[in-house]
Amino acid sequence: MTISLFITCYNDTLFPETGKATVILLERLGHTVEFRAAQTCCGQMHFNTGYVGDALSMMRSTLDVFATAEVICIPSSSCVAMMRDQYPHIAQSTGEPALINAVSRFLPKVFELSELLVDKLGITDVGAFFPHAVTLHPSCHSIRSLHIGNKPQELLKCVRGLTLIELPDARQCCGFGGTFSLKNPEVSAAMLSDKVQCVLETRAEFCTAIDNSCLMHIGGALSRQRTGVRTVHIAEILAATDAGAIQ
């Protein structure tokens, strides 16, 4: 299967390792990965902050770039949520039939990484090896918008060497919320403090998620507090093998 990767703007810029891991993982599973270099951003940050016009332009460009793609993999549930929850409304608001159609053709092709693996490819054991104690932060968008259920846990449970430790109060938001963390830094920090406390309670070595946005937030505090706990995107765990972690 040819899988088109939508890397997302912040993974491209800040977390290239996640993109590389996704490519390596999907190729190891026997698929062809393509990367359409014209892609930029789904528009989430602008839309969630109230800048609908800018988000519309980014949506148009994303739809154009992936018009001919067959299957689109996105290693970020919040970007997928933006597309599924908002693209239809944004398109409707323009009243352009072509755009509305483009969105309805686009959405069935979109898969978050764990959705792609478990639902589309029907695989939970991806042959990964990751000999560490790991806890999973189920991001808000993944549970309340994508209704991802236990897919990330199922994938992690099949990883050899990995000990999965349940996170207390797992469904609580980490407090990132995009520009929320800038507009309400105090409240965001208080929420983050609770999340970090829960992560530390697990005594895990790594905190993982299917979203680097939450991980950037949680990881920022884990680093500042010199906890020694690291964050890692689930793609990087799933790409790791006994032959050695990816570079």
């Binding site: 890397i7 703007c9 993974n11 491209d12 810029t13 800040l14 977390f15 290239p16 993109g19 590389k20 270099a37 014209a38 892609q39 930029t40 951003c41 940050m45 602008h46 839309f47 969630n48 902050t49 109230g50 800048y51 609908v52 800018d54 332009s57 980014m58 460009s61 908002q86 808000c140 968008h141 309340r144 918008s145 469904r171 609580q172 938001c173 407090g175 990132f176 919320g177 520009t179 929320f180 963390s181 800038l182 507009k183 309400n184 830094p185 105090e186 409240v187 965001s188 920090a189 929420m191 983050l192 403090s193 609770d194 950037m216 937030h217 990881g219 920022g220 505090a221 680093s223 500042r224």
Partner: protein, 474 residues
């Protein structure tokens, strides 16, 4: 028209108020404890019902239907209530409602009233208006009494004194009821309140109440509560004035079946409220002999006119969204500067005020969706928050730094070349702030971020560069 929501127009902005409250260890502990307890109870009793999702869908459908036919149902209610001996008054805004209520009390030649279960009266600032007219209002709901005696503001729509603990309540009662020997034993506190309130119930013969539901077909009014103080207010006085926001109407008596399952479970984690008072007009020789209903608009019809925002009026004031909200759990209700706190307050207050005040409220959410998940009327609160944010931006009420930053970001994300260029600029711009592999001290509006979090620097190679290199070497 003078539409106002309590003192919300004068209240400090959310981030400012929140910053202060975050430092109040007592409030944070009280709020955390109370929301944890209520949330736990709510989750347990909701899990008992197999048809919870159908009940939510029914509530949503009934509310949406009612709002689309609001005029018809309000007129139907007026006719039925009048027919049963009640008198219906219409109030366009806070001032009109206050004048009507003051007028009704003055016509009875009374200078004291007892009140129960009416957050709407706080919305219109009724107590202030009564006091200005020389009328003494006494709150009789225990939590409202604590707030009133403490010269405080409500912080929760169901549990207004949620931010207070027993020790604080004891202090307030000791001072205001002149009971120096009072302990903080809950039973002793309740007994003190009971003795204080009984005297008022027996003496004051005019009451003001709110309502949870009003029924169009029968002209019936419904109040649910836990203490019985409401029942006292609704049955002992000769005169009863009930203040009702026009969105509280439901079409039929049998619709209560849906709402009386959803409300107590969502609000207090109870299967049923201990007291459900349901009455229609006046019964000769039994209960209040003069019954007035004041139907209040105060901005609601404007909310109704907004296609996305109108679902806000589906709210049955259960407070579940407050208890579930991780933001509310940190700040408590006072940060929202309104009688309506939490996620529902963040969408209701700005809309009632036509987006004239409280522009920071739609941003007082991380959009985690916990509010939508628990809302018994299925109000998509995140959707409305986003809608209101777009209005703030449209009205050019967003801060200048943000507008500039978002414009620059939009330009950088316009196409792949610009994004690559922006990544290169970022790598250079971050250099002065990078220490030991992290960015720990950023200036300006980014300072809040690095105050408690390290930021990972932009790595040397973007994903797209890695891909291009890999492609070439193939």
């Amino acid at each position: 028209m003078s539409i106002r929501v309590g003192e919300a127009a004068e209240a400090p902005e959310f981030p400012t108020a929140a910053k202060r409250l975050i430092q109040d260890s007592q409030i944070r502990r009280n709020v955390r404890h109370a929301t944890d307890v209520i949330r736990g109870k709510r989750n347990r009793v909701v899990a008992e019902l197999d048809d919870w999702e159908q009940l939510r869908a029914s509530a949503h459908a009934i509310k949406e239907h009612t709002l689309r036919n609001l005029v018809r149902y309000l007129e139907q209610f007026e006719a039925a209530c009048t027919n049963a001996g009640g008198e219906v008054h219409w109030a366009q805004d806070a001032d009109e409602a206050n004048q009507t209520i003051v007028g009704l009390i003055q016509a009875e030649k009374k200078s004291e009233v007892i009140k129960v279960k009416t957050m709407t009266s706080d919305e219109i600032g009724l107590n202030t208006a009564l006091e200005a007219a020389g009328i003494i209002p006494s709150e009789t709901d225990l939590a409202d009494l604590i707030v009133q005696l403490g010269r405080d503001q409500p912080s929760h729509i169901v549990v207004p004194a949620l931010h207070r603990n027993r020790a604080e309540i004891r202090q307030i009662f000791r001072r205001e009821m002149n009971l120096p020997a009072l302990s903080d034993d809950p039973e002793e506190l309740a007994a003190a309140a009971r003795a204080y309130l009984r005297e008022k119930f027996l003496r004051v013969d005019i009451a003001i109440s709110g309502a949870n539901f009003v029924i169009a077909e029968t002209g019936t009014v419904c109040v649910v509560e836990s203490e019985g103080n409401g029942r006292m207010c609704l049955s002992l006085p000769q005169v009863l004035i009930t203040l009702i926001g026009i969105e509280k109407i439901i079409p039929r008596f049998e619709d209560l079946e849906v709402f009386l399952q959803l409300l107590p479970r969502s609000a207090t984690g109870e299967r049923m409220n201990p007291y459900n008072s349901i009455w229609t007009g006046v019964s000769p020789g039994d209960g209040p002999q003069r019954f007035h209903v004041v139907l209040l608009d105060n901005g609601r019809t404007q909310v109704l006119a907004d296609e996305v925002g109108r679902q806000t009026l589906d709210c049955i004031r259960c407070g579940a969204c407050l208890n579930a909200c991780p933001v509310y759990q940190q700040t408590g209700g006072h940060a929202y500067g309104s009688v309506y706190a939490g996620p529902i307050g963040a969408i209701l207050t700005p809309q009632l005020q036509s987006m004239q005040h409280s522009q920071t409220l739609p941003y007082a959410s991380s959009l985690c969706g916990a509010c939508y998940e628990v809302c018994p009327a299925k109000i998509n609160i995140p959707e409305v928050l986003l809608h209101l944010r777009s209005k703030v931006v449209e009205n050019r009420d967003a801060p200048v730094y943000e507008r500039v930053a978002m414009k620059i970001a939009a330009l950088a994300l316009k196409n792949a070349d610009r994004l690559s260029a922006a990544q290169s600029v970022g790598r250079i711009a971050q250099k002065p702030f990078e220490r030991d592999g992290v960015i720990a001290n950023l200036p300006g509006f980014l300072r809040g971020w690095t105050a408690v979090r390290d930021l990972k620097p932009i790595p040397k190679q973007s994903f797209r560069q890695w891909w291009a290199e890999r492609d070439q070497s193939k």
